[in-house]
Symmetry: C2
Subunit: 363 residues, 2 copies
């Protein structure tokens, strides 16, 4: 199933090797923990965003949460937040986040960015589970929250999940809750360092006049989509590799094209994130064209949609066939594509990129 939405912050995510049923519309909201948002704007359109958009909290008693500081916003920590409680629907494309460190008078809690891995509980690390069990609040995109085993979410004082809301507001929410004194885990699938929330959290912390040290900021790494998908394909990534996202939502397309040219002309395997959406199918077409100027049409290409999940699809094809697959169900924003090197071959339905042992060993 394809979507229109570039959910980059969640790009390294469940949806990458997982479910593709939800889009993550980027919509800011007023912060619930001390912030007063000055603008709220749905940036991307989604047919069902009205019905799906809204924050939910697992706690019936939101006042038990140390959430607020000297908030100027009247919103509580539960209830619908996305595109509904705007105080200034300015129509601009910019989102502002509100509260600064001055708005909080509590001793800050901890903020941990936790990578859930490929999107099934078995793919989580023990450290990720412990971090979630120790958190007072768990914040994340609804689809990711649903991946967390019940025995963990039941331990939390509050779950803050936004089904269709944006990563910026959700990340700010997690920071405000930490600054208000709660130990907070913000989750995403894959790894927090791969097209994901670790950087955004640090940027927003800085913008608030806070520091990473103040909330004892920690990143708990997870298995990235490139690795989950490569595992399904065999051994395509055992030599030097590169990851490129085709989403031009946050990076200009000419820059992406230039990167593709530079790495396609060298013998890197190339993992492509966010390969296709209806709004920018031309990015995918352009990428295929660039890859074909440097590599043979019979170069093996692995395509993984929903690795390890119910809707998993795995296909090994050739570079010359890739572009036309852009219009098929297997390639959308939830798919990861691995483009082999000139040495990569397919054997017994597996992609193999030799590390070079065959040049030194006889086997």
């Amino acid at each position: 199933m394809s979507t229109d939405t570039d959910s980059d912050a969640d790009g390294e995510s469940t949806s990458k090797c997982g479910a593709s049923t939800d889009t993550d519309t980027e919509t800011s909201s007023t912060s619930k923990c001390g912030a007063s948002s000055s603008s709220t704007e749905s940036e991307t359109e989604s047919a069902d965003s009205g019905s799906k958009c809204g924050a939910s909290s697992s706690s019936d008693d939101s006042s038990s949460s140390k959430c607020g500081g000297s908030s100027s916003s009247s919103s509580s920590s539960s209830g619908s937040k996305c595109g509904a409680s705007s105080s200034d629907d300015s129509g601009s494309n910019e989102k502002e986040v509100g509260a600064t460190i001055e708005d909080f008078d509590a001793e800050p809690g901890q903020l941990i960015a936790v990578g859930l891995g490929p999107g099934h509980p078995e793919g989580m690390t023990e450290r990720a589970k412990t971090a979630l069990l120790e958190a007072d609040h768990i914040v994340g995109y609804t689809t990711y929250i649903e991946l967390i085993p019940d025995e963990i979410t039941e331990q939390a004082d509050e779950i803050y999940d936004t089904p269709m809301c944006g990563e910026v507001s959700r990340t700010e929410e997690s920071i405000d809750r930490a600054l208000a004194g709660n130990d907070v885990a913000i989750v995403g699938s894959g790894d927090p360092n791969v097209y994901a929330l670790a950087g955004l959290a640090l940027e927003i912390l800085e913008s608030k006049g806070a520091t990473a040290s103040m909330v004892d900021f920690e990143v708990v790494p997870g298995v990235p989509a490139a690795q989950s998908c490569a595992a399904r394909l065999g051994a395509p990534l055992v030599n030097d590799t590169v990851s490129v996202s085709l989403s031009d939502h946050l990076v200009p397309m000419p820059e992406i094209e230039s990167r593709l040219h530079s790495v396609a002309s060298e013998n890197f395997t190339i993992t492509i994130y966010n390969p296709w959406s209806r709004k920018r199918r031309e990015n995918f077409e352009k990428a295929c064209e660039i890859l074909l100027t440097h590599r043979d049409p019979d170069t093996p290409v692995g395509i993984v949609h929903g690795a390890g999940r119910e809707d998993e699809q795995v296909m090994i094809t050739e570079l010359g066939e890739l572009e036309e697959l852009g219009e098929s169900e297997i390639i959308d924003m939830t798919t990861t594509i691995v483009v082999g090197t000139e040495d990569t071959y397919v054997w017994d339905d597996r992609m193999v990129t030799p590390r070079g042992y065959e040049t030194k060993y006889d086997y």
Copy 2:
């Protein structure tokens, strides 16, 4: 502590973000499960390889293992194997592996390549633990085997670990044991797809006339060193990234240099594996020189030695300072280096590579 040895197959490994006390001398051995090796040769020198080299098995009763098939080799599955039981010490640099599918008459067991993650038990996924618990035999480099919790290793019929022996013979050993009817897990830290054993296993399976399907070959992904180390540094990898190994043991240095030029001129973060060893300090010097031809001397660089382990060292420095650190203890084959982009900055002792949100959002 630096070593002389390029342990590439184990490059994405414990030692990468972990212990650096052992070198993994690449030494082939006769296979214990049906193979008769025609050459055995220690390829790299190590002062203490004599005393450390030898396979060990946790089973006192090696005959209980379904190990052998129609083996023409008289060796059992325990006892010293490395550089000791050679039937043809030819002096050539090539290693031959012995048994083919014809040498086994059992119904093959399963072969799983399991990534242990960063090198502490908390970094393992649940899936990795389950795979190890279900395995009859666990095969790996001694340092990795020691990372596995006792409650898992105690469940196995046999542990085959080679403290100083090579990845080729160890991988063949795991395959022979699977072909002889055992369910075998071959382990490495990090991810089996990152400079690691997944590819080698498929190559050796093919060379034996076996297939991946025959042993129901599966890869269980783990958290790669790039992710473990990035987590210690903050958020250096949130945009497009590349991984390059500076070991020229299996890839010619001119090829590595060309790759570095191509990616340094684009705005990728660059994760460097296997950065330095005494035998090839010039590779590191050359890499620093290439990076400096494309990036400013004040580009942030993160250095992580032994992430999450007792000997962990984390340093954030600048590209202009990197080369001279090659001679210090923090950089050796067990270190991972993350070179920032032109946008990467250091804030509150963290490296941050912006994803691009600041171009669209005001926070």
